[in-house]
Amino acid sequence: MNDDESETAALLGQLKIAPSDAARARSFAKLQQEFAELQAPAQPRSRARWAIAAGVAALAAAGVSWTTLQPEVLVAKVEALDGAVEARGSHWYSRAARLDAGHSVAAGDSLAVGADAGVLLRVSGDLTVRLAAGSQARVTAADEIELIVGQVFVDATPGARAPLRVVTPSGVVTHLGTQYLVRAAHDEVEVAVREGRAQLTTGKSTTIAAAGHWLLQHAADPAPLTGELTPADPRFEWIATLPSEFRLEGATLAQFLAWFQRETGLAPVYSEGVDAGNFAHVQLKGSIDDLDPLEALSYVLATADLAWHREGAKVIIEKPPAVGG
C-alpha cells in the first residue's frame, strides 16, 4: 500500500462503524414483520402482528447476535475442482475463501469461478451441479441455485427425486429429468438439454425443451428461439473436464460405460465380433482418478484388450487391430 492509499484508507477507515447486534436484531425483526404483512395482505393481521411483536420482543430482550444463531446448512460438497473457485458466506461478516476438493458449500454461499476454472458440486447421490469458468452463482438451498452469470450443467439420476431450480436474471429453469446446461448472460438465458427435459419459465412464457434441443430466451424477444443440438455439441465440451467421481475398483465394465455415457453424452456401442454380454460383466481394477472420461475409456478398454473409435455421438468399442498384420 503506498502513502496515498494508506492515507485514504486511514481517513475512510473512520467510517467503518458497525451497528450493534441488538440494533441489527431489532431492525431485522421489524423488516420481517413488514415483509410478512406484504406477503399476506388478505389475511387477518391482528394475530400475525401479535405473534411477530412477541418475536421482536424476544429477540430484542435476548440482545444476542442473531446472525450467529443461524445454523449453517451444508447443501453440497466439492467433488472435483479445477483452478481457482472462491466461496463467500451470506453473513455480513463473511469473507471470500478459496474452495478445495472435499470442502462443503452452505446454503447462501456465493461462488465465483475463476476465468480458467471449474467446479463440480455433489448435492446428493443423485444430483451434481457443475459450474463453468467465469460463472458467478449463489447456492440458496439444496434444491435451488441462482446463476448470476455463466454456465451450470445439472446431472440428476434418471427417475430419482432430485429437484433443482436454476434461477437466472432472465428466467427460471427446472428439470423434469435429467441432464441439461443453463447459460445466463446479461439479458438472456439459454438451456441445452442432453437427456430428459427441462422447463424454462420467464416473465413472458413457459417452454419445455426435450433432449437434444436448446432454448434461447433473449430479453427483447417475445418467445425463446429453439433448435437441435448436434451430436458433438460444443456447448458441453467443458463438462468432461470436470468428471464426477467413479470408483473403478470392483465395478463392471457395464457400470463404467454407463458412467462414461452420463459424463460425455456419447453412447458406447460394441462392434460386431465383440462379445458384449461377456465383456459387460468384466470386473475392473485400478483407479481413473485424474483422468478425463475419454482417457479413462482408453485405459479401461485397454485392460480388457479392447479399443475404441468415435463416430458422431457414439463410441464404437472394438478389438484392437492386429499388430504387424
Partner: protein, 197 residues
Amino acid sequence: MEEDRLLVQRLLAGDESALRRFFDEYFDRLYRFAYARLRGDAALAEDAAQTTLTRALRGLAGFRGEAGLFSWLAQICRNEIADLVEKSARTNAHTVSLDATGSARDAAHAVAAPEAAGDKALAGAERLRVIRQVLDELPGRYGEMLELKYIEEWDVERIARRVGLSFEAAQSQLQRARLAFRSALEVRGLSATDLLP
C-alpha cells in the same frame, strides 16, 4: 446490477432467504451512511437504516434497476435523514429552552462527560460528517468505489464486477478516485491530518 435485479425479483416473489440477504447486504451500509450524516447519533442512524429498508420493501416494484440497488436505497435514506434531522431540530429547540435553566442537568453532564471529552467527541462526529460529504461529492462512481474498497473492504475483483469494469480498469479508477478525494479535501482547505484523530 444483475445481482440486484435478481435479489429484487426474489423479494417480489416473497422469498424469505432473499430478505435476509437484502438485510445483510444493506443494513450496515445504510447505517454507516446515516451515522456520519447524523453526527454520530447511533439511535437515529439505526432508525434511518431500518426505515429505509422498510420503505424500500414497500416500493420495491418501483425499482427499475437503472442505477444500483444501493444508490436507490441511499436516495431513500437521504429523505429519511432529512426527516429525522427536521424532527430532531424541533425537539432540540424545545430541549434547549428547558436546558437553559436546567442546572441539575448541567451538573449531571459534568459528571458523566468531562467538557474536554465532550468537545473531542463532537469534533470526531464532525470529522466523519466532513469525510462523508467529500466522498459523496466526488464525481461519477469514485465515491462508491472508495466506499466499497476502504469501508466495506471489498477486494478489487469484486468491485470490478459490481461496477462492470475489468480488474485493471477498476484498479485504475480507484487510483483516480483517491486522487480526486485528496483534491476535494484540498479545495476545502483540509489535509489528511486535519481529519485524522
